[in-house]
């Protein structure tokens, strides 16, 4: 029986290899994807669509930055849906105080996976989606500096995701990690009587490592691209704000992610080879230092590009330039540097030396200034502007609103006496969800709606877009306000069950989550239907940016692309005209 199985496997493997060889032989010109050296500006990319193979093969072999951007986008959105469904199950479980729907351990698995999915499989990739598609267009480059590395970086993500989710797949004896996204030792080192010595945790760590490698490769690529591939007139003096934030973010990634990778390797060694970094006489607190030295920059890795998106989009619908552009640039850089000096504000309650603690508090207060400055600039831009409340603009304003609430709650946490009370309560959960969902995801939506005409060649349904926005604005504020209050009431985070006195607020939070869920359904419906059969874009300037002299390079590229398509009567990607 076992032998037949092995033979069957071998045969299958052989067939697969033959298939691969045949396919490699069939794909013609696969060497022709050589990046053409820079020099030309703002032109069509070096990879005309006629060079691309058709169908699935195109997507598997592409090294075109726009295609890779779309792949990142599809991946990120898929992960967002997965992570969103996970949290919906959790919120349903939290509807009553007892353990009803799922077991406590399964709750913990979902909790861990939700966090990791949203941060590493949705957040970072969706930003990479925008950056891949639009940074080369914005800086007038032909493509990324290293197109193939770009493709490799993307293709590391799906295996990473599979490893991270491995515990949920029907694999015998592998259970999902239940360590929380912070993977604190000693729990995550698998010691004690728990079940976290399971291989599922190792797989999750390996998957996380892969996504880190992917992010690092992407970051190196962006830094090189922005430094060396800028078009003729694009200098540091007129680099757009989104590229500035991507540049800074990439710098942060290059310093932060390798550190996470090393820490993960150390943890894997501790788990499997008996080393003593964090357990066996090592220091569990060392993990927290290593993790947060990565972890705090990570939160800015996630928030800087969305800030860039808002800085780019919000002025276009205010009918005027961004106020204090250079302030925004310098404060971006400041956030980048300072974010490496605040990590222990996540560790105020660990019994750390009070001298060190106060230093971390000082830098945490200093880093709030650049964020406040940006907010000031957005508001001033709106103040003297005429606002057009399109869907992308609404999401930008939602970003500003939620970012203010998230920031104010964060500054409170940075004050040691307050933190010692609120640490590990739902208040913290409320704080960072205001930022990661209320701000970062909102800005991501602003970007998706703003550029929808570019990458889909069609227009979405505006009404549905607005309904989506309002459902999310209301839903997120209901949910996260309830969380803040739960924290004040003393509800600890990361529990599947709770005391009856917290029931009402938990139910309110679950209701808010449901409202967001409905909004999410509308969004997915709108995007799918509009992508397939929305009205084709008739005008290369769908937002009328020319009127105020605010048209940026990617729209000019879009116009040229449409003109070329018209001139030779051919089809360009999905954006052919009637």
């Amino acid at each position: 029986m076992a032998i037949t199985g092995q033979i069957a496997l071998t045969v299958l493997m052989g067939l697969f290899l033959v298939g691969v060889a045949a396919w490699l032989a069939r794909v013609e010109n696969w060497r022709s994807y050589t990046p053409v050296g820079g020099g030309t500006t703002g032109g069509e990319t070096a990879y005309g669509s006629d060079e691309k193979p058709a169908g699935l093969i195109r997507w598997l072999t592409t090294v075109d930055h726009k295609d890779i951007g779309l792949l990142y986008g599809a991946f990120g959105i898929t992960a967002f849906v997965v992570g969103g469904l996970m949290v919906m199950v959790m919120r349903l479980e939290l509807f009553d105080p007892e353990m009803t729907l799922i077991s406590n351990t399964y709750y913990n698995s979902l909790l861990t996976s939700h966090g990791i999915t949203m941060l590493f499989l949705f957040g970072t990739p969706i930003i990479a989606a925008f950056a891949n598609y639009f940074v080369p267009l914005l800086i007038g480059a032909d493509d990324m500096a290293f197109p193939r590395i770009n493709a490799i970086a993307f293709w590391l993500l799906p295996p990473g995701a599979l490893l991270i989710w491995a515990g949920f797949l029907p694999i015998p004896e592998v259970i999902p990690a239940q360590t929380g996204w912070t993977m604190y030792t000693p729990l995550s080192a698998g010691v004690g009587s728990g079940n976290q010595a399971n291989a599922g945790v190792d797989l999750m760590l390996l998957g996380l490592h892969l996504t880190g490698v992917s992010a690092t490769m992407g970051a190196i690529n962006f830094v090189t691209t922005i430094f060396t591939e800028r078009g003729e007139n694009v200098s540091w003096a007129n680099l757009d704000i989104f590229s500035w934030t991507i540049l800074t973010q990439s710098g942060l990634i290059i310093f932060a992610f390798p550190l996470l990778g090393s820490a993960i390797v150390m943890l894997l060694l501790d788990r499997n080879f008996g080393t003593a970094f964090f357990i066996n006489g090592g220091s569990p607190i060392l993990w927290q230092h290593l993790f947060w030295f990565f972890g705090h920059p990570e939160v800015y890795i996630l928030v800087l590009p969305p800030m860039g998106l808002v800085s780019l989009i919000l002025p276009r619908f205010s009918g005027r330039r961004l106020f204090g552009f250079k302030f925004v640039v310098y404060s971006t850089l400041a956030i980048g540097v300072l974010s490496f000096g605040v990590w222990a504000h996540h560790m105020f309650a660990t019994g750390i030396d009070p001298r060190l603690r106060s230093s971390f508090m000082a830098v945490s207060l200093a880093i709030a200034i650049p964020s406040a400055v940006k907010t000031f600039n957005w508001i001033t831009t709106m103040w003297n502007g005429r606002l057009r409340l399109t869907t992308p603009m609404l999401f930008c304003i939602g970003f500003v609103q939620n970012f203010i609430i998230g920031g104010v709650t964060g500054v409170f946490l940075a004050s040691i006496p307050v933190d010692l009370i609120l640490h590990d309560t739902y208040y913290v959960v409320g704080h960072f969800h205001y930022i990661v969902m209320g701000a970062i995801t909102f800005a991501g939506m602003a970007g998706l709606y703003y550029w929808f005409p570019v990458f889909a060649g069609r227009m979405y349904q505006r009404r549905l877009g607005k309904i989506h926005f309002w459902l999310w604005l209301v839903g997120s504020n209901v949910t996260f306000l309830a969380m803040i209050l739960l924290g004040y009431g003393g509800m600890p985070r990361r529990y599947a069950t709770y005391l009856p006195q917290f029931a009402t607020l938990h139910q309110v939070a679950s209701l808010g989550a449901l409202v967001m869920f409905v909004g999410g359904l509308i969004w997915v419906y709108n995007f799918v239907v509009s992508w397939l059969e929305g009205p084709r874009v008739e005008d290369a300037d769908p937002w009328n940016l020319k009127d105020n002299g605010l048209r940026t390079n990617e729209w000019a590229w879009f116009e040229r692309k449409r003109e070329t398509a018209l001139a030779d009567g051919g089809e360009v990607d999905e954006a052919d005209t009637e």
Binding site: N233, Y330, N553
Partner: protein, 117 residues
């Protein structure tokens, strides 16, 4: 030194980063003067290192980025950020120069956008 390398406008722009620098300097001074938790060679070294290191790093990065931006402004045409390739795009006159020139709305694409002293 900075006063000679950067014009007034750039220095004004740099005020944003001076504020966090100031806050960190303030805390260093406060910790030196009041030493609320006493002195210990290792802990105090770390305590100050943790503020001084980001302080220096921020100073250095701000200097070099301001250098790069100023040099770019002096060395070539300056467009609105991200708006170099649209057909209607024109280099912007430097604000100060534009005011002196009496605000010419549609300037010809000038070869150089440097208006700095």
């Amino acid at each position: 030194m900075a006063a000679r390398t950067f014009d007034r406008e750039t220095l004004l722009d740099l005020v944003v980063n001076a504020v966090p620098l100031f806050i960190m300097a303030f805390f260093v001074a406060a910790f030196v003067l009041f030493a609320p938790f006493g002195f210990d060679p290792l802990a105090s070294l770390l305590q100050f290192g943790l503020i001084v290191a980001p302080f220096v790093a921020l100073l250095v990065l701000t200097y070099f980025s301001a250098r790069a931006i100023t040099d770019a402004e002096r060395g070539g045409p300056v467009f609105l950020p991200g708006q170099t390739t649209p057909a209607e795009a024109r280099p912007v006159e430097h604000e100060a120069e534009a005011e002196e020139a009496g605000a010419a709305e549609e300037s010809e694409p000038a070869a150089s956008g440097d208006g700095d002293a």
